[in-house]
């Protein structure tokens, strides 16, 4: 698989990361290097081997269904560029 400049531009856009036009070829090159490395991993025969999700024998930690958080409107909105009447205010998004 090979990433061209067009794909690099699309990936950057989907991630909402601005990449200048002249930087796109280098970015595509980096993608290709990474994918090349992964392709190399793909050569290992893993037939019948369960995918490993953790190097230690851990189990997903669970919580009881109890309300333990919230009621901190001011803290939640503190970093918002714009907040009004308890809401985040953002440039209009309408479908």
């Amino acid at each position: 698989m090979s990433i061209d400049v067009e794909t690099a531009r699309k990936v950057a856009h989907l991630a909402r990361i601005r990449v200048e036009e002249e930087d796109l070829p280098a970015l595509a090159g980096e993608f290709n290097a990474i994918l090349g490395f992964i392709e190399q991993l793909g050569e290992v025969d893993v037939e019948g081997v369960e995918p490993m999700v953790s190097v230690t024998p851990m189990r997903l930690k669970r919580r009881d269904d109890v309300v333990t958080d919230g009621n901190q409107q001011a803290a939640v909105l503190k970093n918002a560029p714009d907040a009004r009447e308890g809401f985040f205010a953002v440039p209009k998004v309408v479908e």
Partner: protein, 503 residues
């Protein structure tokens, strides 16, 4: 369990210029999981709170915050799966669905694309005319809900409330087994009913706690059967997905409009383009959500913050042993044990609260009569007052008392209606009402006989007419009932009148 077997309903057909078309529909129902806290945070799920007050730093997507799963949500998903006779997957896993939108501050929704917690199940959807569709469930997965954007508070800005962000949803995905708008609505209704019985979703569509995405395509008669035999989708038409509907009526209107739109395209020699559409209830039309098209590249990948979710069979068995009686079983039991009609049993089991009320009213007395009183008198009266069963001013045991009073011939059915009205409006005990108001039916034949004799003696002309035409005996019965304030036993009056007039 009584076997409730039904024929399948006929698929809805729409006549086009070039012949008949059939509809093929599949639904993705998003049901808010009934829990106190959110799926991955300890913030409350309560509806209608101050904006951004039920928000933890996890929900707000603050850097460094890690999700911890709420076991209550997992239990509710398992319970729902069991209620839909579905396979429970002891191992499931969470994935990230990546997209940017202001109501999703994480920049991704945690969902279960590859390994859902619930696998294949089925739902019997009764159509109320003696037919029922068996709809296959493909899967149920757990995922986070998004927040709410409000667009009409400011001309240039959208306001975002993250209270709903991170609340657990169950996405229930059906196979394309639904064949018409009415079936689609009935299917959503049945899911809602089952989840309300299970207590896993309150089913409140108005608050958005139950919403549906509808996939619609059209095909020619016979094509669907080919799909059924082969499970090969190429026999079916190209589908469009209508997003996010929270009303049964809109679901039906949207499907009908969308099917006709697709038929018009095809008959015009054009193609249906697979896309996401939005239903506009004001204009009664669906339209393309073009802006979503590019964002559709969700780049799913396993969520690195969450290990796979592993549950034990013992735990699932525990949940299974605590399941309540489900609508189909309850309905079958009502028909079998109380001798109710299919219709009455359906009405009474439609909602779990109604069913519980009826059972309490019918306890130790005639179930069929109790059903009549609950359905005809009580439901009618509640509807008039715009009340629900949970705030009924008359309790179930009091309805039971009225039924017992009728059964023991203490009062007639007509007087019972008066007793009901008094009990309903003044919170009094029916037995006490009958005593205090002196409404007890006169079964003492001596007293009735005296009343009959009196009427006969006072109306010789009527007696002659009745002798010539026995149908006129009813007039005497009416007079006697009037004279006794409606308390005489109508049958006893009738017998006496007939005998005295020598008819």
């Amino acid at each position: 369990m009584l076997d409730l077997t039904y024929d399948a309903p006929k698929p809805k057909t729409i006549a086009g210029a070039t012949g008949d078309w059939e509809l093929v529909i599949g639904l993705e129902v998003h049901a808010q999981v009934a829990t106190a806290a959110k799926l991955f945070s300890g913030a409350s799920t309560q509806f209608g709170a101050e904006p951004n007050s039920n928000v933890s730093f996890i929900d707000a997507g603050m850097p460094g915050m890690l999700p911890v799963i709420n076991e209550g949500c997992v239990a509710q998903a398992v319970r729902t799966g069991l209620g839909l006779k579905a396979q429970i997957n002891l191992r499931s896993a969470f994935d990230r669905k990546n997209y940017f939108y202001p109501d999703l501050p994480q920049g991704y929704q945690i969902s279960q694309l590859y390994h859902p917690i619930v696998g294949e199940g089925e739902v019997l959807v009764e159509m109320g005319d003696g037919t029922a569709r068996l709809v296959r469930i493909e899967r149920i997965h757990l995922e986070q809900d998004a927040g709410k954007s409000i667009h009409d508070m400011d001309p240039h800005m959208s306001f975002v409330d993250l209270n709903r962000t991170g609340v657990a949803l169950m996405e229930i995905v059906s196979r394309p087994d639904i064949r018409g708008p009415e079936e689609a609505a009935a299917y959503v209704g049945k899911l809602r009913q089952i989840m309300r019985y299970l207590g896993t979703c309150d089913g409140n569509m108005q608050n958005g706690n139950l919403r549906a995405d509808v996939n619609v395509s059209v095909c020619r008669p016979g094509d669907y059967e080919k799909y059924q035999q082969t499970q090969d989708f190429s026999h079916l038409g190209t589908r469009c997905e209508i997003k996010n509907m929270n009303s049964m009526r809109f679901i039906q209107m949207a499907i009908d409009y969308e099917a006709r739109r697709q038929i018009a395209l095809l008959e015009d020699g054009k193609d249906v383009v697979q896309e996401t559409r939005l239903f506009d209830p004001d204009k009664v039309e669906t339209r393309s959500m073009r802006s979503k098209e590019e964002a559709h590249d969700y780049r799913y990948f396993p969520c690195p913050d969450l290990l796979p979710l592993e549950i034990e069979q013992d735990w699932v068995d525990d949940i299974a042993s605590g399941l309540p009686e489900l609508p189909d079983e309850k309905k079958a039991r009502f028909i079998r044990d109380f001798g109710l009609s299919d219709y009455d049993a359906s009405v009474l089991t439609a909602d779990v609260d109604n069913a519980a009320f009826f059972e309490a009213a019918a306890e130790g007395t005639d179930g069929k009569l109790a059903a009549n009183w609950v359905i005809n008198e009580l439901f009618g009266r509640l509807k008039k007052d715009d009340r629900t069963i949970s705030d009924s001013p008359i309790s179930a045991p009091r309805i039971g008392q009225i039924v017992r009073l009728i059964k023991s011939d203490a009062i007639s059915g007509k007087i019972a209606k008066d007793v009901f009205e008094i009990a309903y409006t003044s919170d009094r005990d029916p037995e006490e009402i009958v005593e205090t108001e002196g409404l007890k039916q006169v079964t003492d034949t001596g007293a009735i006989e005296a009343a009959v004799d009196e009427i006969i003696a006072a109306n010789p002309a009527q007696v002659e007419k009745a002798k010539a035409n026995p149908k006129l005996a009813g007039w005497f019965v009416g007079q006697v009932m009037k004279a006794t304030g409606g308390k005489a036993n109508p049958k006893a009056v009738n017998d006496l009148v007939t005998a005295k007039l020598g008819l």
